[in-house]
């Protein structure tokens, strides 16, 4: 389903976040995802400056998006990335508890039909990529706002991370 840009996602859907596992030093045994992985990247912050909105962390709505298609869109190796999924309702609940302004909004991407890799996709693959582009969304408000202490911010971020679980295959 294509949503209007920045339309608020309903509470009962899920969103997943892709994380690169293997970019740094990641021994077994740690609870994933790391809270840090939910922070908007530099590029996200740049984009926010242009749109005038809060920096958004890139996520994908489920049902709708798939890990494989999201990796394809990001040109990321599927095997070295892992996805973690949370219910929008749970993320919002944490934000409310911490009195943080947080929004989970639609941010559909253009279908990458001009991508040089597009012709090599099967019909089914193209359908998945289109659906996943339509499922792209942003979690706005995770970046620490001015005036919020580091401890309060990180405590909030840690709780948001705990709402995410490894995405079932």
């Amino acid at each position: 389903m294509t949503r209007e840009r920045y339309a608020s996602l309903p509470d009962d859907v899920g969103v997943f976040r892709i994380a690169r596992v293997g970019g740094g030093f990641l021994p077994d045994g740690h609870l994933m995802p790391k809270p840090e992985w939910l922070e908007p990247t530099k590029a996200d912050q740049e984009e926010a400056k242009q749109t005038g909105r809060l920096p958004g962390t890139s996520v994908w709505e489920v049902p709708g998006g798939t890990h494989g298609a999201a990796c394809w869109i990001r040109n990321a190796d599927e095997q070295s990335h892992r996805s973690f999924v949370a219910k929008v309702h749970d993320v919002r609940t944490v934000a409310t508890k911490h009195a943080r302004e947080l929004a989970v909004v639609a941010d559909c991407l253009e279908h990458p039909e001009a991508d040089a890799r597009w012709p090599s996709l099967t019909d089914n693959g193209r359908e998945l990529v289109r659906a996943t582009c339509d499922a792209h969304a942003l979690v706005e408000g995770i970046k620490r706002p001015a005036g919020t202490s580091e401890v309060a911010h990180r405590s909030f971020r840690e709780e948001v991370a705990r709402t995410f679980e490894p995405m079932p295959e």
């Binding site: 970019g23 740094g24 030093f25 990641l26 021994p27 077994d28 045994g29 740690h30 609870l31 994933m32 790391k34 809270p35 840090e36 992985w37 922070e39 908007p40 990247t41 530099k42 912050q45 580091e150 401890v151 990180r154 405590s155 840690e158 705990r162 679980e165 490894p166 995405m167 079932p168 295959e169």
Partner: protein, 646 residues
Amino acid sequence: MPEFIPDVATVAERVLSAARRGDGAYVEGPVGSGRNALVEKLRAEQDAVIVDLLPLEEADAPAVAFIEVCGHLPVEDRPSRGTGAEAELRDAAVQLGARLRDGKRFLVLRVPDSWKSVERAADVENAVPSRAAALLHGLFAGGSGVVLVSDAAITAERLGFYPRVRILLPAHHVAADALRAFDWGAYHDFFEKVARSTKAPREASPLAWRLAVGATALGHDHDEVLVALRSRMAIPDLARLVCDRLRGDQAAVEAVARFLAVRRPMKADAVSSLTGAQPELLPLLTMCIGYGGDTVRVTPLVRSILRRVLGTSSRDLSSTHEALAGHYRAADGALSPVALDSQRTRAWCEKVHHLGHAGDAGAAAWAKQELPSPEFYWDRGRRLSITEHKYNAAADVYRACAVAFPQDDYAWHYHAWNLQRGRGAVREVERAYRRAVEIAPENPWWNARLVTFLAVSGQPQESRREWQSAVERVDPEGTQARSGPWLSQNFHLQVCREWIRSGRSTWAQEVVRLVPLPQRSRGPWKFFARRISEGDRRLVEYLSSLERRHDLTGTHAQYIHRCWAWMKASLGEELPLPMAEPTADGERFQFAWSYRSVLVEVEVLPTGGVQWFAKDRLTDAAAGGESTIGQTDAELIAWLRKTVDA
């Protein structure tokens, strides 16, 4: 054709006489020695209950055998469905044997060579041999006469079977002429080529001749075929030659795979439609790999070699299984085998197996069947997990099994394992592993999986506690570990490996100490010893490559190095390895320890400053601060110590 089929009349007499006295008889012989002829002769006896056991590669083999025997008894005499416990299966099998005895009947079990694995059933993770052993123990103890016709040298006593009569059938070799009267069809010339060759042996087993004709027809080097035909291991050697040639022809491999998917003898005129084989390939299936005239069968040995070498079990044969399910459904017409006679029982078992392997097309019909034994679930669960890699679907099947048979530790364990692979709910995975251990506390695999799962899911201290309990459950005195390398390979090794991966070298060292010294000097233990002694070498190597990997300045990289060295010096070797990488904005570098009980983040700034945050996840208490490298920060050190005990 008397010269072709061995004369087994005398053997049959001896066996019948023993079985009717309620004694045991054991008959063993190589392929072609007349075991089939013997079984067919016994089949004609009214008081004989004949069961052709499926190879143990088939997960449902013990269950099929059990309910096939049931199919020979009046419905009221059949045992009711149990909870899935192995002891129950044995008791029910004793009951079956007793009913046969009371009815003055005897049991003939045709045993494929794969059943030899029941002798070491306790040493394999696979529960199928263990169930098979329980079944046989029970049947032998029931008191009826039992005839074991075996393809392999089984040490009957290890199964509690003490036969009064033992017969070793000699190899039965024939001249090629004995097979000339068969209708070789398109393979007639190839048969003649083999039969007339001056280098061919004077006599060989009929199956060896057949396979030699097949390998020749497929274009294999004729001399090589004849060498194989003369070898002492002619049948496996020739079967491999057939595989060699087939591998280059995908369509032929597909046809053979479909042919081998049929587990029971099949009508010769159905082979073409079922396998989709081209007419020129049909003689290979019906005359060489298979044999038998109107009804074609495949020797378990040949089936097993072909499946393994050609990898047929991993192919997508869903449509073949769907067709076979349809065929058997017409023959049984029931959802439950409870009231079926022996013929329809067999059809029902085959239907369930093929539905279970028919992919999505068979799923709904499979789910409707009333499955009387855990193995039927395992059969489908394995297909989904091992062949199709659909771990969550497999987890669902094992869960359904565990619900139906709550004492089935195998189902609980594989429910957990598949759910873990499918990244399912962590709590459910842990609960199911714990349940498996509760039911079978001495099982080394279930224990090792629970311990390693706790380690990978961010519960290191719980993992360590569970390991200490597991050692108590599995090998409290270390007796088993000292008696040989088996336990350390299947228990200690798994835990040691995971703790090394989780950066808990000192704990891994404790596991190593439980392994007797002579074993430690071999194989993976030497490798582990090196990994343990390396400590944080991999992390230090990574930190040495930061400038190249992450575009950090040399000064920043030096601060990061120093920060790690300082934390390590403050906490010692016990400090577990952290996750380490730049932050999302790329400006700082973060060390993080994230466990279910505690989170500690230590970030190194480009200026050399350190910013840290820590949270007790059980109480939600949080703290943070700023510091400089090398400066004693008692609060941070206290939090880091919590990661040691996390």
